[in-house]
């Protein structure tokens, strides 16, 4: 039987505020254990949590970027369960009146098609603390620095049908959150966390199968692999007549397997009730409009604009807009570059990215410390006006990276100039022709591709500085004579 997978994602985005969601403790990452805790985030009796404006504004901004309706009445609820990383015995979350309602996200798939994934809701909640386990010890240690850090949980509709779609949804969601500046969205550091609800059904069926929740996918590849593995596991179970049980499974990246998680008490009986300490939140249309005005161009709009305005391929546009700062670098370069944007796009993707990979450096640091985009523009302009060849440009660039000199300085110092003097070039061409009578014979007897041999020889003679187009013209003319 052919099966179809049905996938929905629950994504937790840590909002990058200075303080926690309900108290003024810092959200700094990596601080000494319990240095950012107070009576409120520890859940001491008699304290009063108060909502952080920045967390609220960022949640609204995120919602708007995902085409969500923003609720004009929103409230907080207590989600009750016991766990040592949850100091109050309940998590403050939002149950029936989330801040963001229905929305959607359009994603571009590898085959060039577009898919719309529905967003069910997005709500604000507080993060839990962290448990530290020491090997062999009979105890665990609780660090509450993370307890109370604001999270936005974004819940998708079960609209995805493959790990590929889930991967693109997550990537696109991450890029948007990064573009709008509400989160650092780092899967590895935990500022972006993703759980997947996965079920299978016979292809063509409308009824949803029993869903399994998969947690602990800590990388983009992990998400893809974990989903693939879980789909396979469920199909195998179904085909062998096993019943799929509704449960939570943890993904083990090392073994590429999922295994059932020991259930936390009576699963899903969270007995939500309104948080009496936090009055409801009413966001006005004016406030929403003001936040909407702060939204930058989103990744997908930028991608489309790049593709259209700069006449570059879809894939190039996707690569360049994948990172907000890389896109900015490209556009900064175009301001000074006189040639076709396509050439700058190629250069940045090939040469600049290679250096970034080699140095494990981000584009922002590279632009600040190594090479501003204007210098790439200057270098490419030297190719464009014929001062140097494209091949020479690579050497110049390597020298620029090594010495932090400008393209002009490198070219002047090395005496690198493209030889475009036709008299000079003719001399070299004549010499090469005279030195290789055998190859000339081959050419004249119809083996036109030996022209490559001549070009190679001429480049060798001129140490790569000959203007390739002129060489070709002169060479063809001379070889075709007689």
């Amino acid at each position: 039987m052919e099966y179809e997978a049905v996938i929905g994602l629950e994504v937790h985005v840590q909002l990058n505020t200075a303080t926690k969601i309900f108290c003024s403790c810092s959200t700094e990452f990596g601080a000494a254990p319990n240095s950012h805790v107070c009576e409120i985030c520890m859940g001491q009796p008699g304290v009063l949590p108060v909502l952080n404006r920045e967390a609220l504004d960022k949640a609204v901004k995120a919602g708007l970027s995902l085409n969500c309706g923003i609720s004009d009445y929103s409230k907080f609820d207590r989600k009750n369960y016991f766990y040592p990383d949850l100091p109050k015995g309940y998590q403050i979350s939002q149950f029936d009146y989330p801040i963001c309602g229905k929305g959607y996200l359009d994603i571009d798939l590898s085959d060039g098609s577009t898919k719309r994934v529905g967003i069910t809701r997005a709500h604000l909640e507080e993060d839990a603390g962290k448990l530290v386990h020491t090997e062999g010890a009979g105890y665990s240690l609780v660090d509450l620095n993370r307890a109370g850090v604001p999270l936005l949980e974004i819940v998708s509709e079960p609209d995805m049908r493959s790990s590929e779609e889930a991967f693109h949804y997550l990537k696109s969601l991450r890029n948007i959150m990064k573009y709008i500046g509400v989160s650092d969205v780092n899967l590895e550091e935990g500022s972006l966390r993703c759980d997947a609800n996965i079920s299978i059904r016979p292809k063509g069926d409308d009824k949803l199968g029993t869903k399994v929740e998969v947690k602990n996918m800590n990388s983009f590849n992990g998400v893809r692999k974990a989903i693939d593995h879980e789909i396979e596991r469920q199909i195998f179970a179904a085909e062998n007549g096993e019943r799929i049980v509704q449960e939570t499974r943890l993904y083990d990246a090392a073994a590429n397997k999922t295994h059932p998680m020991r259930s936390k008490e009576e699963a899903n009986d969270y007995r939500y009730f309104p948080e009496p300490d936090l009055p409801p939140v009413c966001v006005t249309p004016e406030e929403i409009d003001n936040i909407r005005k702060t939204l930058p161009e989103l990744p997908r709009e930028k991608m489309r604009r790049f593709e259209k305005d700069y006449n570059i391929t879809r894939q190039d546009a996707i690569t360049l807009t994948d990172d907000f700062d890389l896109a900015a670098y490209f556009e900064e370069c175009l301001k000074g570059y006189k040639g076709e944007p396509k050439k700058a796009a190629n250069w940045i993707q090939a040469e600049v990215m290679a250096v970034l990979n080699e140095l494990s450096m981000g584009i922002t640091e590279y632009a600040a410390k190594m090479m501003p985009a204007t210098q790439i523009a200057e270098l490419l302009n030297f190719v464009e006006d014929g001062t140097i060849t494209g091949k020479m440009a690579k050497d110049v660039y390597a020298a620029m990276v090594d010495t932090k000199k400008t393209a002009k300085q490198v070219i002047d110092e090395k005496g690198l100039k493209q030889v475009s003097d036709s008299g000079e070039l003719e001399k070299v061409v004549d010499k090469v022709i005279n030195d290789n009578p055998g190859e000339v014979e081959k050419y004249r007897s119809g083996k036109k591709n030996v022209i490559g041999f001549f070009v190679g020889q001429i480049m060798k003679e001129t140490r790569g500085q000959a203007n390739p187009k002129m060489v070709n013209d002169i060479l063809t003319k001379k070889l075709d004579q007689a």
């Binding site: 108060v50 909502l51 386990h133 009576e266 009496p276 009055p279 939140v281 009413c282």
Partner: protein, 97 residues
């Protein structure tokens, strides 16, 4: 709404990590049932156009600015826990997997 039975009381107690004797459970089952019946009285009225009351106060939008304040000194923090070690609260080992 059906009567609240012993099973409901037991389940609620379990979720709240509380333990009761048989007599206590019987007593609570009776009291819970009375409470639910009392609340049910509201269904005698037509409440179609009345939004649910979730808060006893009328206040809305109590919000603070995002500026960092002082946290608790670590020595005070450690005193709040029955047992502390390495700036952390010690709890029985939690096995997550």
């Amino acid at each position: 709404m059906p009567e609240i039975g012993l099973k409901d009381v037991e389940n609620t107690a379990k979720l709240a990590k509380l333990e009761f004797t048989g007599a206590e459970k019987e007593k609570f089952a009776g009291q819970f049932s009375k409470i639910v019946k009392f609340v049910e009285k509201i269904s005698e009225l037509n409440t179609d156009d009345i939004p649910p009351t979730t808060h006893a106060v009328e206040k809305r939008n109590v919000i603070r600015e995002d500026s960092v304040g002082e946290s608790m000194p670590i020595d005070v923090f450690e005193k709040t826990a029955p047992k502390a070690l390495d700036r952390s609260i010690v709890v029985p080992r939690v096995i997550e997997h």
